[in-house]
């Protein structure tokens, strides 16, 4: 399979009064056609800025640098604003956490969906309406004709997110970037929306980059995942591999924090990661995680720690060898 999106050494810098903030550092990942990549991390790890950086939607002050962002063979870093605008909503769709902020409250759903298509394609308004109706049915909305005439505020949160998804599908994109698409929704609705996304993805053969903090979602949705911590990818690989044998202490810590019904003993202490995320203003010497890492030693404070590739997919950012890492983790567990 060929990579649809290939990001190499992406950096984002934001100059602030106190110094330069490096929210995204040296990001390298790729997504194949029809595949799902989850970018997972806690608040402030740079995952949302990454999605904005890909689509050149960063705040004005922010500076984006990198080797390349290849989308279907073309480098997005070299594209003009105009060309990027043609790409967004057309070949790449975006879904955000709060659909209300991306839907215009003063236009009907139908109007907005049609505009989306008319902007990028040479079609008549009738054809656009037909596609809108078809897609609304596709995302499970009953009475699509009636819904097209409604305004965003007349819909519930779950319905709005469905509309948002239908809207991003208007031009038949190759890639969808979804930033926490279900965080604002209830659990039952969340499962429905994720299921819908997965089904549509299979049907239309789209690639999906899903950005989330929820490891449950990652486990169920992703083919591949990238774990971000303090602006860097600390571990990536196939979802079964990473969940099965996490190599980075941070990934391991995160996984130990959530109770798994049937596996975690009820009422037992959950794992935790002591400490807080370091400031990303200025350069951090050494490993970003070392202050919170149970295995940190002197070498961790020296120089930068590079992403170590084990094979094509699996990589992690730690000085310990895979076998060491696993052995140390078991040791720690035993000690508790």
């Amino acid at each position: 399979m060929s990579a649809l999106l290939e990001v190499k050494n992406l950096n984002v810098d934001i100059p602030l009064a106190a110094g330069i903030l490096h929210p995204v550092q040296d990001l390298t990942f790729s997504v194949d056609k029809g595949q799902t990549l989850c970018i997972v991390g806690e608040s402030g790890c740079g995952k949302s800025l990454t999605s904005l950086a890909l689509m050149d939607l960063l705040p004005k002050k922010a500076v984006r640098t990198g080797t390349s962002i290849l989308f279907d063979g073309e480098d997005l870093l070299k594209k003009s604003d105009r060309q990027m605008a043609d790409l967004r909503g057309n070949r790449v769709g975006m879904i955000f956490q709060e659909p209300m902020t991306s839907l215009n409250p003063s236009f009907t759903i139908g109007n907005q969906m049609e505009e989306m298509m008319l902007r990028h394609r040479r079609v008549s308004r009738n054809e656009a309406r037909e596609r809108a109706t078809y897609l609304l049915q596709k995302v499970g909305i009953v009475g699509a004709e009636r819904r097209l005439k409604q305004y965003p505020h007349q819909l519930s949160g779950g319905l709005r997110q469905r509309v948002m998804i239908a809207m991003t599908l208007m031009c038949g994109p190759d890639l969808i970037i979804a930033d926490e698409p279900t965080t604002a929704l209830d659990v039952t609705i969340q499962a429905q929306i994720l299921l819908l996304l997965a089904e549509l993805q299979r049907e239309f053969g789209m690639a999906l980059i899903l950005i989330t903090h929820d490891l449950g979602i990652v486990a169920r949705v992703a083919d591949r995942l990238a774990v971000m911590y303090a602006g860097q990818i600390v571990e990536q690989g196939n979802v079964e591999d990473v969940f099965g044998e996490p190599l980075h202490p941070y990934t391991r810590g995160l996984l130990s924090c959530i109770p798994v019904p049937g596996k975690t003993e009820r009422g037992a202490h959950l794992g935790s990661i002591p400490g807080i995320v370091p400031s990303m203003i200025g350069d951090i010497e050494g490993c970003h995680f070392r202050d919170r890492c149970p295995h940190a030693w002197m070498d961790c404070a020296k120089g930068g720690v590079d992403l170590r590739a084990l094979d094509q997919l699996r990589a992690y950012r730690c000085l310990m060898s895979p076998s060491d890492s696993v052995a140390r983790a078991t040791e720690l567990e035993m000690a508790e």
Partner: protein, 313 residues
């Protein structure tokens, strides 16, 4: 290990600070230092603050600063131009008016009147408006309905017309102008305090305070008021400017402060007959009003940026 020890051991900050110096860079410095830094860094606020401080000091120390008695008429020395004009005299730096009174002294005493009226009118309307706004926002329901009704009623009254009419009936004086303006300018206080209170009221810390058992008075004074003080300060400055302008207008129309009290508005009015021959008579007090109002407004703008950035726009 006792559970309490464990709680500490698993605590993020407790462990982290022991070996992580970088934590201090994440933490913000002391709130007061931050505030001071924001104030000092705000250029237009600082400029306005210096101008205001100058004007206030001038008003307070007017008797010491004024070279002459502002009411002293010396008819043979009337209409002496300011010193930059050809016939200027050092004894009267800003010249004299048509009654032969020293213009600089009158300007200095005028600052007193303007600031006094602006400040007092703002205090009266501020107290009225804040009480009403906070009550409406906190209690809601009937109270809110009544206060909102009062507010709409007040907003239908044209301020200048009503104050003109009232002054015409009662007769103009410093006190009447202050009271009338105070009773007319509370609308903006009420509007803003009402919405600010509603916003804060729905926050969890107010709920937590009532769950603790705090009395309504305590909740309003220690949980709500400190958090809407920023917005209050901002409107207060704007209302001072508003009152200063209205006083000037009233005095210009002859219904505000009565002669011979030196008031900038009155001075413009008195000078207007000589405007074509002696333009400084109008320009100087005009410039003073302009500077004062500008400084107050800049101060308010700056205060909004500093204390209540969420209210911008």
């Amino acid at each position: 290990m006792a559970p309490s020890d464990k709680a500490i051991a698993t605590d993020g900050a407790g462990v982290a600070t022991a070996r992580m110096p970088s934590i201090e860079t994440v933490m913000q410095p002391n709130a007061a230092t931050m505030l001071a830094r924001r104030i000092l860094g705000h250029r237009s606020f600082m400029v306005a603050a210096i101008i205001m401080a100058g004007l206030i000091l001038t008003a307070i120390f007017a008797p010491l600063l004024a070279p002459h008695d502002p009411l002293d008429q010396v008819l043979i020395r009337r209409l002496i131009p300011p010193i930059w004009a050809e016939k200027g005299q050092w004894e009267h730096l800003l010249g004299t008016d048509m009654m032969g009174r020293d213009y600089l002294s009158r300007m200095i005493y005028g600052a007193r009147v303007s600031l006094l009226i602006g400040f007092c009118a703002m205090m009266i309307s501020g107290v009225l408006g804040t009480v009403m706004g906070v009550c409406a926002g906190y209690f809601g329901g009937r109270v809110d309905m009544v206060i909102t009704f009062l507010l709409t009623t007040r907003l239908t009254l044209p301020v200048v017309m009503v104050s003109l009419a009232l002054v015409a009936v009662v007769g103009g004086s410093l006190q009447t102008v202050i009271i009338i303006l105070g009773c007319l300018l509370w609308d903006r206080f009420t509007v803003v305090m009402r919405s600010a209170t509603m916003q804060v009221r729905s926050l969890d810390y107010v709920r937590a305070a009532s769950a603790i058992g705090c009395s309504t008075r305590r909740i309003i004074f220690s949980e709500i008021l400190p958090n809407i003080l920023g917005s209050l300060l901002v409107i207060a400055t704007f209302e001072i400017a508003h009152a200063v302008l209205l006083e000037a207008a009233l005095s210009f129309l002859g219904l505000g402060v009565q002669p011979p009290t030196p008031s900038w508005g009155l001075m413009v009015s008195e000078g207007k007959d000589y405007m074509l021959f002696e333009p400084y008579l109008v320009m100087l007090p005009g410039l003073a009003i302009f500077t004062l109002v500008l400084a107050i407004n800049l101060l308010g703008d700056g205060a909004r940026d500093i204390f209540a950035p969420e209210n911008r726009n």
